[in-house]
C-alpha cells in the first residue's frame, strides 16, 4: 500500500520517467559531496577558535561552528556518509528482499508461508527503538571489528538495510506468483528450463520496475533513519559529521548560530525531497496500472 499516495493522473505521453529538477538536484548533491571536500578551502576537521560561530560569509560560505570548523566542508563530508548509508542500506534491502521474494513466490507452499510470516514479524518490529537498541549494544564491537571509521558505518547500514527488505520482498513475491502461472513460463518449464533460469530470464525482468520504485524510496527513508539515529546522538561518533549529527550538535547553538542547523537541515531536506519525488514519478511512469491498493497493511516507519 502507499501511504505516500502517488499522483492520480496517469502520466501524459511526453512525461519523462524522472522529474528533471529533482534528478538534477539529487545528482548535484551527490557530485558535490564527492568532489566538494577535495576542493573546499578549509578541511572539515581544522579547529580555529578565532573563527568560532562565524555567520556565512566569503571566507566560510556556510559559516563556522563553535570550534571554528568550516560548515561547508562538514556538510559536504557529512553528505558522503549520509548518502552512503542510504545507498548501502538500499542495496542490502533490495538484494535481501528480492531473494526472499523470489524464493517465496517461486517455491510456494511452506517456504512461502514461513517467509511471509517472517516478513510480517519484521514489519511489526518497532524499527526506531530496535535500531537504537542495536546501536547501543553493538556499536563498540563493530568499531573494534571494522575500525573506528567503518565500524559504525557498517553497523548502521546493515541494520537499516536488514530492517527494510520487507516491502521489496512482498512486491517481488506477488509478481513471482503471477509470472509463475503465465503461459510462457509454463512453456519454458515444459522445455526443461531450470528454476534458476526461469527466475533469471522470466521473473527478474518482471519485478524490475516495482523494485526500482521501492529502491528509490528506500534510499530516502534510510537517509532519514540514519539522521534520526545521529540526531538522537546514537548513530555515528561525534567526529563523523553526518547531517543528523551536525543538527544534533547545532541544537545547543540555535540562538547564537542558527546557520549551524540551517545548512545541514537544508541539505537533508533537499536530498529527501528529490528522492521522494523521483520515486513518485518513477511509480507513475513505470507502473501506471498499479491502482492504489485499498487495504493498508503497514505504515512505512519513518520518523
Amino acid at each position: 500500500m502507499r501511504p505516500h499516495a502517488r499522483s492520480q493522473r496517469p502520466p501524459g505521453p511526453r512525461q519523462l520517467p524522472l522529474p528533471l529538477v529533482s534528478t538534477t538536484l539529487f545528482l548535484f548533491i551527490v557530485l558535490s559531496t564527492l568532489v566538494g571536500p577535495l576542493v573546499v578551502a578549509h578541511p572539515p576537521g581544522t579547529i580555529d577558535f578565532s573563527q568560532a560561530t562565524r555567520p556565512p560569509g566569503w571566507e566560510h560560505p556556510f559559516g563556522t561552528n563553535d570550534l571554528g570548523q568550516d560548515m561547508l566542508a562538514r556538510v559536504l563530508v557529512g553528505g558522503r556518509v549520509s548518502i552512503g548509508v542510504g545507498l548501502g542500506a538500499m542495496v542490502i534491502s533490495t538484494v535481501l528482499g528480492t531473494a526472499v521474494g523470489v524464493v517465496a513466490g517461486f517455491a510456494g507452499g511452506l517456504p512461502d508461508a514461513l517467509l511471509m510470516r517472517l516478513a510480517d514479524a519484521f514489519l511489526a518490529l518497532p524499527h526506531l527503538p530496535l535500531l537504537l537498541l542495536t546501536m547501543m549494544l553493538f556499536r563498540d564491537p563493530a568499531t573494534s571489528l571494522f575500525g573506528p571509521e567503518y565500524g559504525p558505518f557498517a553497523l548502521v547500514t546493515l541494520v537499516i538495510g536488514g530492517l527494510s527488505w520487507m516491502t521489496v520482498a512482498r512486491l517481488v513475491r506477488a509478481t513471482a506468483l503471477t509470472v509463475r502461472e503465465m503461459e510462457f513460463v509454463v512453456a519454458a518449464r515444459a522445455l526443461g528450463a531450470s528454476p534458476i533460469r526461469l527466475i533469471r530470464v522470466h521473473v527478474l525482468p518482471h519485478v524490475l520496475s516495482p523494485v526500482i520504485v521501492a529502491a528509490t524510496l528506500s534510499v530516502s527513508s534510510a537517509i532519514v533513519m540514519e539522521s534520526t539515529l545521529s540526531f538522537l546522538g546514537l548513530g555515528f561518533p561525534p567526529d563523523t559529521p553526518t547531517w543528523g549529527r551536525l543538527l544534533y550538535h547545532a541544537r545547543d547553538f540555535l540562538d547564537i548560530a542558527p546557520h549551524m542547523a540551517l545548512f545541514p537541515g537544508l541539505a537533508l531536506f533537499l536530498t529527501v525531497l528529490s528522492l521522494t519525488s523521483m520515486g513518485d514519478r518513477l511509480q507513475a511512469t513505470l507502473e501506471p496500472r498499479r491502482v492504489p491498493n485499498h487495504r493498508p497493511t503497514k505504515v512505512v516507519e519513518h520518523s
Binding site: 532519514v224 539522521s227 525531497l273 487495504r295 493498508p296 503497514k298
Partner: protein, 325 residues
C-alpha cells in the same frame, strides 16, 4: 464475525513470539556483562557477584531465561532500572501521561487537518488548491521530525520568542494561566507530530476519495439528482473512510515512535525521552521493556486495523476479493 476476529487474533500471537525472541536474542547476544560494573566495585566481592548472578537467574540456560522474562513481563513485572533502582513499571507510569497527551493531541490535530485538506483537494484534483496542498504535504513528508522541530525552535523560540523551547515537567495546571502555559509549551511538540502525520494521512485520504469519485454508484447518485454535498458526504466519504480508518489505527505506533524524536528535541519528559536516556546509560531493563511495549503496540494496532476493516467491509471477513468495481 467471531471466527474472523479469533483467526486474526491467533495470527498475531506467533508474530509477538517471534518479536520477543528477536529482542531477547539481541540483548543476550550483545557483548558485555550486565554485572560488569560490580567487577570494578571493591565493595562487591567475587562471591557476592556470583550470588547476584544466581539470584538474577543469569546462570540458567538461555531458553529458561527467555521463558522467565516473558512470563514475568506478562504479569507486569518488568524488572528494575539499573540506574535509578526503581521498578521499570513505576518509571513508565510517571511518564505515560505526558506522552499520551502529546501523542493524542498531535494525532487529533493531524486527523482533522488531513481530513479537511484531503477532501478539499480531492474534490477538484489538479486545481490550484490541490496542487498547493499536495506540495505542502510532500514537503512535510520530506522533512524529518527533528528538522521540523529545530526549525520551529528557530522561528518561534529564538526569533519570535513566542513559545518556550523546553517543556517543563513540574508545571501545575491549577488556574487558567497554568493551562495557557501548558498549551504554550505543548504547541510545538504537538505541531511537529501533527504535521508529519498529516503529510502521510492527507495524501492517503485524497487518493481514497479519488478512488471512489469515479465509481458507478456515484454517477448513479448524480443521475438521480442528489445534491453534490450529499453525494460527497453520504456516498463518497463513507466508502472512502473505510481504508482511512484502518490507516488511522496503523498510524498509532508510528506516531508513538515519532514521539521519541519529538520528546528529545523539546526535552519533553515522556516515554520516548526515557528510552533515549536509558540507552545512553545502558539501562537494559528499561530499554527492553519500552522496546517490547512498542512491539506490542504495533501488533495490537495491526489487529485493531484488521478487525475494523472486517467490521466496516463485510467482503473482507467473508474472504471475497475486494475490488474497486
Amino acid at each position: 464475525m467471531l471466527t474472523y476476529l479469533l483467526r486474526r487474533a491467533l495470527v498475531s500471537i506467533p508474530t509477538l513470539i517471534i518479536i520477543s525472541i528477536v529482542l531477547f536474542t539481541i540483548v543476550t547476544l550483545a557483548p558485555g556483562d550486565p554485572l560488569a560494573e560490580f567487577a570494578l566495585n571493591p565493595a562487591v566481592s567475587a562471591e557476592t557477584r556470583e550470588q547476584l548472578r544466581v539470584a538474577l537467574g543469569l546462570d540458567q540456560p538461555l531458553p529458561i531465561r527467555y521463558v522467565r522474562w516473558v512470563t514475568a513481563f506478562l504479569r507486569g513485572q518488568m524488572g528494575y532500572s539499573f540506574t535509578s533502582q526503581m521498578p521499570v513499571r513505576t518509571l513508565l507510569a510517571q511518564r505515560l501521561g505526558t506522552t499520551l497527551w502529546i501523542v493524542g493531541a498531535g494525532y487529533g490535530v493531524s486527523l482533522v487537518l488531513s481530513l479537511v485538506l484531503g477532501v478539499l483537494s480531492a474534490l477538484k484534483p489538479g486545481s490550484l488548491f490541490d496542487r498547493a496542498a499536495t506540495t505542502w504535504a510532500l514537503s512535510w513528508f520530506s522533512t524529518p521530525t527533528f528538522l521540523t522541530g529545530i526549525l520551529f525552535i528557530l522561528v518561534f523560540s529564538v526569533k519570535l520568542r513566542w513559545l518556550p523551547s523546553i517543556y517543563t515537567s513540574t508545571l501545575e495546571v491549577a488556574d487558567p494561566a497554568g493551562l495557557a502555559a501548558l498549551l504554550r509549551q505543548s504547541a510545538m511538540p504537538v505541531a511537529v507530530l501533527a504535521l508529519f502525520q498529516t503529510a502521510t494521512l492527507m495524501r492517503f485520504v485524497r487518493s481514497a476519495i479519488l478512488d471512489q469519485a469515479h465509481q458507478e454508484y456515484v454517477r448513479a447518485a448524480r443521475a438521480r439528482g442528489i445534491r453534490e454535498f450529499f453525494i460527497v458526504s453520504r456516498h463518497i466519504l463513507r466508502n472512502a473512510l473505510v481504508p482511512v480508518i484502518t490507516l488511522v489505527a496503523l498510524g498509532i505506533p508510528t506516531i508513538f515512535t515519532g514521539a521519541i524524536v519529538t520528546e528529545q528535541i523539546f526535552r519533553v519528559p515522556g516515554i520516548g525521552s526515557l528510552l533515549v536516556r536509558a540507552i545512553e546509560t545502558s539501562d537494559t531493563p528499561v530499554v527492553m521493556a519500552i522496546t517490547f511495549l512498542y512491539a506490542i503496540l504495533v501488533v495490537l494496532c495491526n489487529l485493531v486495523a484488521d478487525v475494523l476493516y472486517g467490521l466496516l467491509d463485510p467482503r473482507v471477513r467473508l474472504g471475497e476479493p475486494v475490488g474497486t468495481g
